[in-house]
């Protein structure tokens, strides 16, 4: 039985073979499982942007982009399988969109010399590029997110949150646990009281957590949720009549899918973001014309302009800009993954650049360097407007508390370096 299956498997693999193209981008997506509602728009945006570059510009620097999609189901074992299956095809960069898979891939990708871009997720201390040479998490990370949320609360309270109670509802995994360290430091600094409420995967059952919130009556609730957990949490918050404007989600808990289920009552829910929202940018006209109307969209084409679609497209745009940077640096259009790493490390996003590609003012300006793989930690707060059916930015971009975050990054990354015998240096 086993041998027979394997023979067929070999035959299947032989037949599959790698499709040869010069710039290979792997999209480790998840369109199935409890996180699919969030995985689909991100993946659509990620792929559609590259399709746009292929259709409109003939690729990047004259080289066509070959997109390889691999379904992970947000499962680490399948993620590893995807990575091993696709790395041989000359993948330039991985964007796993899962903190669990990121932790798996950090040592593997570093050893294989393939860069990882964990945009706004993954291991926060990868910001320290001197230790994590192949991992990038620009433009913002979880600790920035934690600090941005607290800063926003500070702004609302005139700079004083002493004695206030803040509860963190989080996905009980590496992802959800990431901000705790920073929030504890910030609690010490600003004198607020932090309570932690873990929610187990996949997060459909949160009655006890929200009962506790009802009993303890925290002034603010922060949320680190993903997938179906977001919808359930927002519905529960509505059920206990928690004031929505005091409920702030991380950027992964702030998409239309998460709030729509709760109806009008979800009005006022806030979420962080590190890029702009909506589809009022020139690039969307091009996407509509060259990709969606041409029938080349990765998904059904109905996600264009949603928060997570924008984020996927933003990730693709940053990858494409890094490819351009690498092509200029090395004077070759067909770059390798090592050259891609150089491109990412020297990426500079300016206002002029973003305007040039049809996304004026879409994200913060930042410059990546060897010491700083994580950008400058700028983000903004968005708020759900149920009547209009969209998230709207309610603040300018502001910076996270670097005085708190930088020592933590330094501490965590040097612990990692010591554990794994890595010599830090640029």
């Amino acid at each position: 039985m086993k041998m027979k299956l394997m023979t067929v498997a070999v035959a299947a693999m032989m037949a599959a073979g790698p499709a040869l193209a010069d710039l290979t981008i792997v999209d480790t997506s998840y369109r199935t499982g409890p996180y699919a509602a969030n995985g689909i728009p991100f993946s659509d945006g990620y792929q559609d942007y590259f399709t746009l570059l292929n259709e409109r510009d003939g690729g990047i620097g004259g080289e066509m982009v070959n997109i390889v999609e691999c379904e992970t189901g947000y499962n680490t074992e399948k993620g590893v399988e995807c990575y091993e299956a696709t790395k041989g095809e000359g993948a330039l960069v991985y964007q796993p969109l899962s903190t669990g898979i990121t932790y798996q891939l950090i040592p593997k990708a570093t050893s294989d010399g393939i860069p990882l871009h964990t945009m706004g997720y993954g291991r926060t201390s990868a910001k320290n590029g001197a230790v994590f040479k192949y991992v990038f998490n620009y433009p913002a990370n979880y600790w920035d997110g934690a600090s941005l949320a607290v800063t926003h609360i500070l702004d609302q309270n005139g700079g004083d949150v002493n004695g206030k109670k803040i509860a963190l509802v989080y996905h009980n995994s590496a992802y959800g646990k990431e901000p705790i360290r920073t929030l504890e430091e910030l609690a010490k600094k600003h004198g607020f009281e932090l309570s932690l409420l873990p929610v187990d995967h996949p997060g459909q059952e949160q009655k006890s957590q929200w009962l506790q919130i009802r009993r303890e009556k925290p002034d603010y609730v922060l949320m680190w949720g993903w997938g179906v957990m977001n919808q359930v949490a927002i519905q529960e918050a509505v059920n206990i009549r928690f004031p929505m404007e005091n409920f702030i989600g991380i950027w992964w808990s702030g998409s239309e899918n998460d709030v729509k289920a709760a109806g009008d009552k979800a009005n006022g829910y806030k979420a962080l973001t590190f890029h702009n929202l909506g589809s009022d940018y020139p690039v969307y006209a091009d996407i509509q014309k060259h990709v969606v109307d041409a029938g080349k969209a990765a998904g059904a084409g109905d996600q264009v302009g949603t928060v997570l679609y924008n984020r996927g497209m933003y990730a693709a745009m940053l990858a494409a800009e890094a490819i351009k940077t690498a092509q200029e640096m090395h004077g070759t259009a067909a770059i390798t993954s090592a050259q891609m790493r150089d491109g990412m490390e020297n990426l500079e996003m300016t206002e002029a650049k973003m305007a040039g590609i049809g996304l004026p003012g879409f994200g913060p300006e930042f410059k990546v360097s060897c010491e700083n793989h994580g950008g400058n930690g700028f983000g903004a707060v968005s708020q759900w407007d149920a009547a209009a059916g969209e998230f709207k930015l309610i603040t300018e971009y502001f910076q996270s508390d670097q005085d708190v975050i930088m020592p933590l990054v330094e501490e965590d990354s040097s612990a990692f370096a010591a554990e794994n015998g890595i010599e830090a240096g640029c």
Binding site: K2, E69, E77, K87, Q104, A174, D412
Partner: protein, 358 residues
């Protein structure tokens, strides 16, 4: 024609009692071993190791462990995922606490620790049976996962709650961590699988195994003929826990390298291993291998076939994969309720008579 005893004379009891008494069967077994040990390591690459061989070998150990408990001793357990987590976390604590000791011994020790934990959770089996015991072991599953999430000592107080396997070597060759060569990781797991299978096979056909089977078939009758249910049941929990713990330790250290307990060792893992032994065949070592192969290889194969060869959208393929695997499980169990092992047994009987069936 094949598998015939004719002309295969035994002149000693040792020969008569060997695992594969039929010459043809024995040579086939040697051939498989030869290929596994001497051919595969030379042709294996990263993809084959990480997507096919490591999961197959490790799940086979877990399935052997669970088969001893469920298939041989008749004690239903839904705590396999939790017990694998015990193995993984024990291995992590040993690896980081005693880096100077060889990883090989860490993994065996992890098996021992899991055996102890498994015995503790096996105590209710002396009073409750069947579905009630399944619920008690289900409690173990949830308790253990909660414990490893809650108590930060288990993950050395790391901020993310993840455990990461540092690089460890055997005879100077790294077997864990990112630098491990595919053949090294493969051989390391193969050695454990090979030894586990031999130990399990010989325990189950010795006195211990006969006691377990007596308990499984009818515990009151077994007690009357002199089997001590306390010892028999708890020893089954211990031996089962030992193998499951080894599987968990290898799963963490060699295969994944970084583990998050809730995701990797959740209830789905318990069910997966239970399905493996049910599809493979309860009370059969070969069945454990067959079941592991079925549930590890089939999804990978289908994925490569549907996405790689036919070029279907990945989400459609992922959904179809569930449907096809589910349908095949039903078909197999309808065709042969005793699993793949029984299918193999029947095939052997047929082959003996072939090509003259009468």
């Amino acid at each position: 024609m094949f598998y015939r005893e004719a002309g295969d004379f035994k002149t000693s009891y040792t020969e008569d009692n060997q695992t594969f008494p039929i010459k043809f069967d024995r040579y086939r077994y040697y051939a498989v071993l030869l290929v596994a040990f001497a051919v595969v390591p030379f042709i294996i690459n990263d993809y084959w190791v990480n997507a096919v061989f490591l999961p197959f070998l490790i799940y086979a150990i877990a399935a052997i462990g669970l088969n001893i408990l469920v298939g041989y001793c008749g004690q239903v357990s839904l705590g396999t995922g939790g017990f694998m987590a015990v193995g993984a976390y024990a291995c992590y604590k040993l690896m980081t606490g005693f880096p100077e000791i060889n990883i090989f011994f860490h993994i065996i020790l992890s098996g021992g620790i899991t055996a102890a934990v498994c015995v503790a959770f096996g105590l209710p089996s002396l009073r409750i049976k069947g579905f009630y015991l399944a619920v008690a072991t289900l409690a173990a599953q949830f308790f253990l996962v909660w414990l490893f999430n809650k108590v930060s000592w288990f993950y050395n107080y790391s901020a993310s709650g993840q455990i990461n396997a540092p690089e460890r070597t055997v005879f100077g060759v790294p077997v864990t961590g990112a630098e491990a060569a595919p053949w090294a990781a493969y051989l390391f797991c193969l050695v454990f699988t090979f030894i586990s299978a031999i130990i399990a096979r010989n325990t189950t056909r010795g006195m211990a195994g006969r006691k377990w089977m007596a308990i499984r078939d009818m515990d009151i009758a077994a007690e009357i003929i002199g089997v001590n249910p306390l010892k028999a049941k708890l020893s089954a929990f211990a031996v089962s826990g030992f193998f499951v713990g080894i599987a968990g330790a290898l799963f963490f250290s060699v295969y994944l390298g970084a583990v998050e307990v809730g995701e990797v060792f959740g209830i789905t893992k318990s069910f997966l291993v239970l399905f493996m032994i049910i599809i493979g065949g309860l009370g059969s070592i070969f069945g454990s291998f067959a079941g592991a192969a079925f549930l590890v290889l089939l999804p990978v194969l289908l994925k490569n076939l549907l996405v790689g060869t036919l070029g279907w959208p990945t989400d459609l393929a992922a959904h179809l994969e569930f449907m096809i695997v589910g349908a095949l499980i039903v078909v197999f169990l309808v065709a042969e309720p005793h699993g793949l092992a029984q299918l193999w047994r029947v095939a052997k009987e047929k082959l003996r008579l072939w090509p003259f069936p009468h």
